[in-house]
Amino acid sequence: MAIPFPFSAIVGQDEMKLAIQIVAVDPKVGGVLALGDRGTGKSTAVRALADLLPPIHVVKGCAYGCDPQSQLANCPDCSRLKAGSKIATESKPVPVIDLPLGATEDRVVGALDLEQALSQGIKAFSPGLLAQANRGFLYIDEVNLLEDHLVDLLIDVAASGENVVEREGLSIRHPARFVLVGSGNPEEGELRPQLLDRFGLSVEVRTPQDLDQRVLVIKRRDAFERDPQAFRDSCAADNEALRKHIVKARKGLEKVHTGDDLLRTCAQLCQKLGTDGLRAELTLMRASRAYAALQGKKSVTTEHLRHIAPLALRHRLRRNPLDDTGSGTRVQRALEEVLGA
C-alpha cells in the first residue's frame, strides 16, 4: 500500500488544516470546499486524513462500514447480520474515498452486481463509492467540473445521509453519511449554489509565496519520497499528538457551552449578509463550537466566531456573479458591524 504524506508534515495552509480538523471533530458541520490553483497541496491534505484520524469500529462483513453501537439496522447487510447471532466487529481506517470526475452514475450509487447476475442469475447489489464513503470522507477533485447529473445525486445524498437506489430492478437503501470534501479552481467554472450550500466550510488555498516555506515543502516532500516509511515514522509523534488532540476535542464537544447571546450574534451576522435558509447559522454555530473544543475551551466566545465566520459564510452569500468583490471582505465587513456595535 502506498503511504500517504503525513498530515502534520504539511507546511502552511493553516486555514485548510483548521477546516479539516473542525469537520473531523464534528462531521455535522458539513463538508469542506477548498478553492485554489492546482499544485497547492489540497489533495495531499485530504489524502493525509485517513492516516491522521483514529480508526473506526465497524460491523465485520458489512459493506457499508456501519457502527456496531448503532441500534438502527438501516443497512441491508446489518439487518441480515444483526438478525443472526452476535455480530463481529473490526476496526479499520476512516475511509477517504476519491470520486473521480468522470465516474459513472452506477459507480457512485452502486449497481447490480454484474458478476453474480451473469454467472448465477442472482440479483444482488454491488455497493458504489457512496457506500464506501459511509462514515468517512468523500473527496472530489475539481468539483466545479463535475457533471450535472452527479451533482444532483450528491446534493440529495449529502443532505439526507442515505442513498436510495431504485434502478435496474433493485430497491435498496443504505446509510451514506460522509463529509464532502471538494477542491477546485473557481477560474474554470462555478459551482451550483445548491451544492455550495452542502459544504459547511470553504477555504481559499494559495501557494505559499514565501520562499522559505516553499523550500520547506520541497525538502519535506523530497525526504518523504526517499523513504516514505522513515519519514512517516519521524512525523509519527506529531501525528499522534494531533490525533489525541482531535479525539479530546470530540469528547469535549458535548460540554462546550454556547450562550444565547452568541447565537443571537450568529443570527444577526447571517441576517446582515442575507444568507438563504438557516443552514448558515447552524453551520456557523457548530463550527465555532468545534473550534472552541479544539482550543480546549468550555464555551464559545466571539473570538471563535470571528475566526470561523469567514470560513462558514463566505460561500453562502447570495452573490451577483458579476461582482468582483471578494466575499471574504463582505463577511469581514459584516463582522465589524455586528461585533463592533
Binding site: A2, G39, G41, G102, L118, D148, T207, R221
Partner: protein, 625 residues
C-alpha cells in the same frame, strides 16, 4: 548544436529511468519526423513502452470483469487494468488532447496516488507508471485536460523544431552508455543524491521569478535535476542539471517574464548575503565537463547566484516572441487552461437522461443493461444447451446483450460579437456592455458558456475564449475600448471560427451580434465602404450556410437598412433597438435562444416607427407573451 533537442533527449533518458517519479511528459508535437525520432530514442531506452489507446474505458484502464471469458467459463474472471504496472513503466497516450474527461480524471488520480484505486472486486494496488502524453492540438484548439497537464512533470514542445539530430557529445555518450546500465540502481542513486538547501532555494526562486505557482512543478524540477546528475554519473547536482531541469519543467509553465536584472531591486541580494557566509567564493562557472569525472565542487552554492544562473539557463531555449508575450501578460500560461474534450458527445452511452435499452455490444464505453439482457435471454433458455462443465445457470449469448442509452444535452455557448468601432462607440457601446452583462447573468443561471469577441479598427479579437467564468467575461468586457473603423467581415469570420470550433466540441453555439451594421473596413483591413459591405455580405452568407443561430441587435440610433440586409444574409433575427435599453436587448436574445422568434409585432413596429420610440416601451413586457 541544438540545445532543445539535447534537452529532449535527456528528458527521454530521465523518463526511462524513473517514469513514476516524474509522472511523465506532456509532449506537444505534430505527427512528424521529429516526434518519431524522439519516440524511437525513448523506445530504445525504455523498451517496455506501452501504448494505451485514448478510447480505452475505465474497465480496461483500472481492471475489471472480463465479460467474454466470464460468460464462457460461467464464473467471474477478472483482468488487470493497463494502469496496474508493478514495475516502472511508461505508458504512451496518443491523441491526448482528445482524451475524454473521465479518462483524464482517472489518470490524474492514479498518478497522484501511485496506486490503482480499489474497485468493486479488488483492493487498491500499487502501480509505477509515467505517461507519455502525445498532444497534437493546434494553436486554436483546446490542449490536453488541465488537470493532467499539471501532473505530468516534463513539458516538451517540439512543435517548432525543424529537425531532429545535432546532439552534442555528452548527450551521445549518455545515450550510448545508458542501455548497458542498471536502471534501478541508477534510480536509487538519483533518489538518494543529497541536495543542498541552496539548490532547493534556487529552484523555488526561479519558479517564483517565472510565475510558476504550482509546487508540483518545483518538485518535478528537483527530481529531474537529480536524475540528470545521476545520468551524468555524478554525485552532485550541478548548475548544468538545474538549468536543463528548469528548461524542461519550469520554462514551459512560465506565466510571466522575469524582470531584467538591472531593474531587479537590491534587497534580495542583501538578504542572500545575510543567508550565506560572506567568505564563500562564488561558484566558478564550470565549462562543459566530460561526463565521466565531474570536477570537485566549490564548498557551497550561493542561492542567489545559482538562481540567476538557473534562470538564464531556463530562458535559453525560449523564443524571444514568447518572452515578449509573457512580458505583456498577453497570455496566461502559454499552454492555456484547456479542458480537453472528446468529440461530439450528444448521443451518449454513458450519461445523461436514460433512454430505453437497445441491443448492442457492451464495448467502447457502452454499458451492459443487465436486466434487459437477462430478459432477452430467458425465453431462449430451453433452446440453448449449457455445456455440462459449466456452472452457469443461464445461457447467455452475445445476441442477448442490451446496452444503456442516454440522451445527453449539449451545453450551449453564447458568442457575443461587440462592435466597438467609432460609430457604435459614440452612442451605444456602454449600453451594449450593459446588455451583455444582463445576458451574462442569465447565462449564469443557465450554466451556458459565453465567449466575447470585440471588433474595431482593422481586426476582430477574441477577448474571452468560451468559458463559464462570468467574472472573467465581465472583466474582458470592461476592458474593451471604443473607436476606429468597423471591420464587420473580420468579425463574422472570427465568430464563425469560434462557433465551428464549439460545434466540433459538441456544443451548440449561437451568436449575438451587437452592431450598427455600417462596415467600412474590408476583410483585408482596407478602408472603403463598398468593398467592406461586400465582404461582410459574403461572410454573412457563409454563416448562413452553416445554419447556426444568430440574432442581430441593431445598435444604431434608428433602424439601419444595411444592418437589416446583413442580418437577412446571415439568417439572423434582426432586432432594431432604437433607444432600447439593456433590458430589452436581453429579453430579445432570450426569446431567440428559447426557440421562439422574437416578437414580430415589436420588431415590425420598431422598424416602421423609427421616429416614435416613446410609443413603445415594452421594457416590462415579456416578448414571448
Amino acid at each position: 548544436m541544438n540545445l532543445a533537442w539535447d534537452d529532449a533527449l535527456w528528458a527521454a533518458a530521465a523518463l526511462s529511468i524513473d517514469p513514476c517519479g516524474l509522472r511523465g511528459v506532456w509532449l506537444r508535437a505534430p505527427h512528424g519526423p521529429v516526434r518519431d525520432e524522439w519516440l524511437a530514442q525513448l523506445t530504445r531506452l525504455h523498451p517496455a513502452l506501452r501504448r494505451v489507446p485514448g478510447h480505452a474505458d475505465s474497465e480496461r484502464l483500472l481492471g475489471g470483469l472480463d465479460l467474454g471469458a466470464t460468460l464462457h467459463a460461467g464464473r467471474a474472471i477478472y483482468q488487470p487494468g493497463v494502469l496496474t504496472q508493478p514495475d516502472p513503466t511508461l505508458l504512451l497516450l496518443p491523441m491526448a488532447e482528445r482524451l475524454p474527461d473521465d479518462t483524464a480524471a482517472i489518470l490524474g488520480q492514479v498518478l497522484d496516488q501511485g496506486q490503482v484505486p480499489a474497485g468493486r472486486q479488488q483492493t487498491a494496488q500499487d502501480t509505477f507508471i509515467g505517461l507519455v502524453a502525445l498532444d497534437e492540438s493546434l494553436e486554436d484548439e483546446p490542449p490536453m485536460a488541465g488537470g493532467l497537464q499539471e501532473r505530468l512533470g516534463i513539458w516538451l514542445d517540439l512543435r517548432h523544431m525543424g529537425r531532429a539530430g545535432g546532439e552534442d557529445d555528452n548527450t551521445r555518450w549518455m545515450l550510448d552508455t545508458l542501455p548497458s546500465m542498471d536502471l534501478s540502481a541508477l534510480r536509487a542513486h538519483a533518489l538518494h543524491l543529497d541536495m543542498e538547501d541552496a539548490v532547493v532555494q534556487a529552484v523555488c526562486q526561479t519558479a517564483h521569478t517565472l510565475g510558476v505557482d504550482s509546487l508540483r512543478a518545483c518538485l518535478a524540477t528537483v527530481k529531474l535535476a537529480k536524475l540528470l546528475a545521476a545520468l551524468r554519473g555524478s554525485d552532485q547536482v550541478q548548475e548544468e542539471d538545474l538549468g536543463r531541469a528548469a528548461r524542461l519543467v519550469l520554462t514551459p509553465r512560465a506565466t510571466r517574464a522575469p524582470v531584467p536584472p538591472d531593474q531587479q531591486a537590491a534587497p534580495p541580494e542583501a538578504e542572500a548575503q545575510n543567508d550565506s557566509p560572506p567568505d564563500q567564493p562564488p561558484p566558478s562557472d564550470p565549462p562543459e565537463q566530460p561526463p565521466a569525472d565531474p570536477p570537485p565542487e566549490p564548498p557551497g552554492f550561493d542561492p542567489q547566484d545559482m538562481a540567476e544562473l538557473m534562470l538564464e539557463a531556463a530562458l535559453a531555449t525560449l523564443p524571444a516572441d514568447v518572452l515578449a508575450l509573457l512580458a505583456d501578460h498577453k497570455t496566461a500560461a502559454p499552454a492555456g487552461r484547456g479542458q480537453g474534450r472528446s468529440g461530439n458527445r450528444k448521443p451518449s452511452f454513458l450519461r445523461g437522461t436514460p433512454l430505453p435499452p437497445r441491443p448492442g455490444n457492451p464495448r467502447q464505453g457502452a454499458r451492459l443493461h443487465v436486466l434487459a439482457t437477462l430478459n432477452a435471454a430467458v425465453p431462449r433458455q430451453k433452446l440453448r444447451r449449457l455445456p455440462s462443465h459449466s456452472r452457469a445457470k443461464l445461457a447467455i449469448r452475445t445476441e442477448d446483450f442490451h446496452v444503456h442509452r442516454y440522451a445527453e444535452h449539449s451545453p450551449t455557448c453564447l458568442i457575443f460579437a461587440i462592435d466597438a468601432s467609432g460609430s457604435a462607440a459614440l452612442h451605444r457601446l456602454a449600453e451594449a456592455k450593459g446588455a451583455v452583462e444582463l445576458l451574462l447573468t442569465q447565462s449564469y443561471a443557465r450554466r451556458d458558456q459565453v465567449c466575447v469577441i470585440g471588433f474595431r479598427g482593422t481586426q476582430a479579437e477574441v477577448l474571452l475564449p468560451p468559458t463559464k467564468s462570468l467574472v472573467r467575461a465581465k472583466r474582458s468586457l470592461s476592458g474593451l475600448p471604443g473607436g476606429g473603423g468597423t471591420p464587420l467581415a473580420c468579425a463574422i469570420e472570427q465568430c464563425l471560427q469560434v462557433a465551428l470550433a464549439e460545434k466540433r466540441l459538441g456544443h451548440s453555439p449561437s451568436l449575438v451580434m451587437l452592431s450598427d451594421g455600417r462596415p467600412n473596413v474590408s476583410l483585408q483591413g482596407q478602408g472603403g465602404r463598398a468593398q467592406a459591405l461586400e465582404d461582410a455580405l459574403t461572410l454573412a452568407r457563409v454563416w448562413r450556410g452553416h445554419q447556426l443561430p444568430a440574432i442581430w441587435l441593431d445598435t444604431s440610433a434608428r433602424p439601419e437598412p444595411q444592418a437589416q440586409q446583413l442580418a437577412q444574409a446571415m439568417g439572423a433575427h434582426y432586432v432594431p433597438l432604437p433607444m432600447a435599453n439593456s433590458n430589452r436587448m436581453a429579453q430579445a436574445v432570450q426569446a431567440v435562444q428559447s426557440g421562439n422568434t422574437p416578437p414580430a409585432t415589436a420588431t415590425a413596429r420598431a422598424a416602421w416607427q423609427p421616429n416614435a420610440p416613446s410609443a413603445q416601451t415594452p421594457v416590462w413586457r415579456n416578448p414571448g407573451a
